[in-house]
Amino acid sequence: MKKHLKLALIALTATSVLSVSAYAHRTWLLPSATVLAGKDNWVTVDAAVSNDLFYFEHQPLNLDGLAVMAPDGSAVTPENIAKGRYRNTFDVKLTQDGTYKMMVLNQGVFASYKLDGQQKRMRGKPDTIAKDIPAGATDVRISEIQGRIEIFVTSGKPTEAVMKTTGAGLELVPVTHPNNLYAGEKATFRMLLDGQPAAGLDIEIVPGGIRYRDKLNDSKVTTDESGAFSVTWPSPGMYWLHANIRDKKTRIENAERRAAYSTTLEVLAP
């Protein structure tokens, strides 16, 4: 990575984390537990942007776009939101039985350009960003971002209500419930882009614990015509799953749409 690009990226992540990243950093949410029993449990979640999974070593993940959905579909207010140097955290009290979804949506419009030989990046509004770019800027690129980072947590029996999709950007539809994953077993999911099957999409799957091994041990799968892909989990642990696309489906002129999806899945020992 060139030095000026790195600096620009750091500046941007510090203010508003770029969840749709063309760069090496990974964005993630890491829950303290995904399978819980009993009543009135709490889950605490770390939110960070880093190279190695799942270590806090680069930037906290901005939680402005955080939303938590209870098993009945209602919104839950996250508690104890705290900002750290390397990670942000929040807590969720699980008052209902079933599956919760916790998500960070990063929607926005960004522009990058060169001015006086310097690489610049800015955040703007869809209607005005083209005008806000200074006169004399060259190499102008405008991107509409649709980033979704989500995790699933289940108290008691897994439920499906929170799996409803919105039809915007990249989304995951479980065939196998995301809190019912076991090493040695095959799990299947479907990816949607704007509510339609995302065929031919590359999915990257990386097991956590990178710091203590020499190889990344990642795997790549491609979705079929129905947007489906399957993974057979090699070992228990936390896995990071990511996909992104770039296209021209945006109402902003001469802009690129970049949609991304990340989730963290816990695979249990059988």
Binding site: A37, K157, P158
Partner: protein
């Protein structure tokens, strides 16, 4: 005709004579560890294909206020997945407190409870134990139901469970 009749009488007598048709015995080992908690233990039966499950017993911290002991039930992770998360606990005839180290027995009558509902076929008895700040272990004993003759089947654990045995009678 006579033969059929006599066979029916014999089987009736046999059923009456053997109340307690399946007896499970479990050794909970005494462990020399810094912090010891009695294990949570779940006992259940699965059909060979795994698609039918009958709960036999679950031993856990039933006496804490507000059912706080339920929180660790998921540590018996196979049981939790197979059946535990579907249950409302405590449940009569299923829940009971954890047991101290030593040998414990539980018996089931073929005419009542989980065994009465068991269709003839291949099954496994599964015993899973999980201990707070300790380990977890799962043992299986395959068996045929109803049994052709009296038999005692065993499985040996390595760290959380000693020996378990299943004594079954026709």
């Amino acid at each position: 005709m006579r033969l059929t009749l006599s066979a029916a009488v014999t089987s009736l007598v046999a059923t009456q004579a053997t109340a307690g048709d399946a007896t499970i015995s479990i050794d909970i080992p005494r462990l020399n560890v810094a912090e010891y908690h009695r294990p949570y233990v779940a006992f259940w039966i699965e059909s060979a294909s795994g698609d039918r499950v009958s709960n036999l017993a679950v031993w856990y911290a039933t006496r804490l206020k507000d059912n706080e002991g339920n929180k660790w039930l998921k540590d018996m992770r196979q049981w939790w997945r197979r059946t535990g998360r579907e249950l409302a606990l405590p449940a009569d005839g299923l829940s009971s407190p954890t047991r101290a180290p030593g040998t414990h027995q539980i018996s089931f009558d073929s005419g009542a409870g989980p065994l009465a509902a068991l269709a003839p076929g291949e099954y496994q008895l599964i015993v899973e134990a999980a201990r707070e700040v300790g380990g977890r272990e799962l043992l299986r004993i395959p068996f045929q139901w109803p049994p052709k003759d009296e038999r005692k089947l065993e499985a040996k654990g390595e760290h959380e469970i000693g020996t378990i045995s299943l004594a079954i009678k026709p």
